[in-house]
């Protein structure tokens, strides 16, 4: 739908990731596939070649491989903030599945909804927030209207 009808959030990171050290947000990957079905052909090929390398390159992510009798092969990704994402990989080739895995690894677990602002600061103002009296000289004495004739005219009325 439109951005007004769908939920939105502000740009944020999980637990100030990146301020000190960068931590990969992907906690667990479960690959659910079938041993004999045609839809899991790419997944089976990926498990033969690429899973071990992937697990070696990403030591902070745990990879579970579970062959089950199922029609639709899935990859279930769990993140450090508790969100769970399921990607359906029916009919994908081994290379496409590795691309899907890199995408899941690079994501943090925050919802993929509309972002209200493309920036986030905790210290928006350093030199002081502007208000109408900044950079104006202070005045000596009370602030009065300039002309005395106007006052006399008003008092006559």
């Amino acid at each position: 739908m439109t951005s007004r009808g769908t939920p939105s959030r502000f740009l944020q990171s999980v637990l100030q990731n990146g301020v000190g050290r960068y931590v990969c947000q992907l906690k667990r990957l479960s690959i659910i596939f079938s041993k004999n079905a045609q839809s899991s052909l790419g997944i089976r090929g990926f498990i033969e070649e690429g899973v071990v390398d992937y697990a070696k390159y990403n030591p902070s992510t745990v990879v579970y491989v579970s062959p089950q009798p199922c029609r639709i092969p899935k990859i279930v990704a769990e993140y450090l903030n508790g969100n769970v994402r399921e990607e359906i990989v029916t009919g994908k080739t081994s290379i496409q599945i590795s691309e899907v895995l890199t995408k899941l690894t690079n994501q943090s677990g925050l919802d993929i909804i509309r972002l209200r602002k493309p920036f986030h600061t905790d210290n928006p103002s350093i030199q002081g927030q502007w208000h109408p009296f900044t950079n104006r000289p202070p005045c000596i004495g009370p602030i009065r209207p300039q002309k005395q004739d106007a006052e006399q005219g008003l008092s006559n009325i």
């Binding site: 990171s13 990731n17 990146g18 690079n106 994501q107 993929i112 493309p118 920036f119 986030h120 030199q127």
Partner: protein, 192 residues
């Protein structure tokens, strides 16, 4: 006939060669950047224009004082938090340490890698600002950022519809996004 004569008279009065509106020194189609707009009663205010008295010695002394104060505070590193205006991904961002930036395209660095932003236009602390013309030197400021996340945007609907023409097209656009965390802004201890 009378209409044509009247139109001809009007045209003659409105020709750009009218000497009352356009002073003789100005040409309408010249490449010289001089008087381009005709001088009317509202061009300049009715009071006499007063320029402030220019004293070059005073100005030079003030400038030297400001430069020495700023240099001193930079060498002692006693400014607090710094902010910078950085040109990145065809946009300018006002940036401090520890803040997040979203770039709507692919950045050529993996997650967790550090990037140095080189096009810095302005750097400021609480008491002073350094303004570049248009950029500040590379050996003066150093802005570093880490790539935190490389996702895709939410699926945006791009719909074209013409009413009463039986035409509609719907496309779903998903763009790659990169989130950067600004780690630090550092100033070098020497200014010229």
């Amino acid at each position: 006939m009378a209409l044509c004569r009247g139109a001809g008279l009007l045209l003659r009065t409105l020709l750009p060669g009218n000497p009352l509106l356009f002073p003789a020194a100005c040409r309408t189609q010249s490449s010289v950047s001089g008087v381009l707009v005709p001088w009317t009663s509202l061009t300049s205010p009715p009071w006499p224009e007063q320029m402030p008295p220019v004293c070059e010695v005073e100005d030079a002394r003030r400038q030297a004082a400001v430069v020495s104060t700023v240099n001193g505070s930079i060498e002692r590193q006693d400014y607090g938090r710094l902010f910078a205006v950085v040109h990145f991904a065809s946009r300018q961002w006002k940036v401090t340490g520890e803040d997040l930036i979203l770039i709507e395209n692919h950045v050529e660095a993996g997650c967790g890698e550090t990037i140095r932003m080189e096009k810095v236009l302005l750097v400021g602390a609480e008491d002073f600002t350094l303004v570049g013309r248009p950029l500040l030197g590379r050996d003066l400021v150093r802005v570093e950022a880490t790539v935190i996340e490389k996702t895709e945007s939410w699926p945006k609907v791009h719909m074209r519809f013409w009413k009463r023409h039986r035409y509609q097209r719907k496309m779903i656009i998903v763009q790659p996004q990169t989130v950067l965390r600004i780690n630090s802004i550092e100033l070098a201890p020497r200014l010229s």
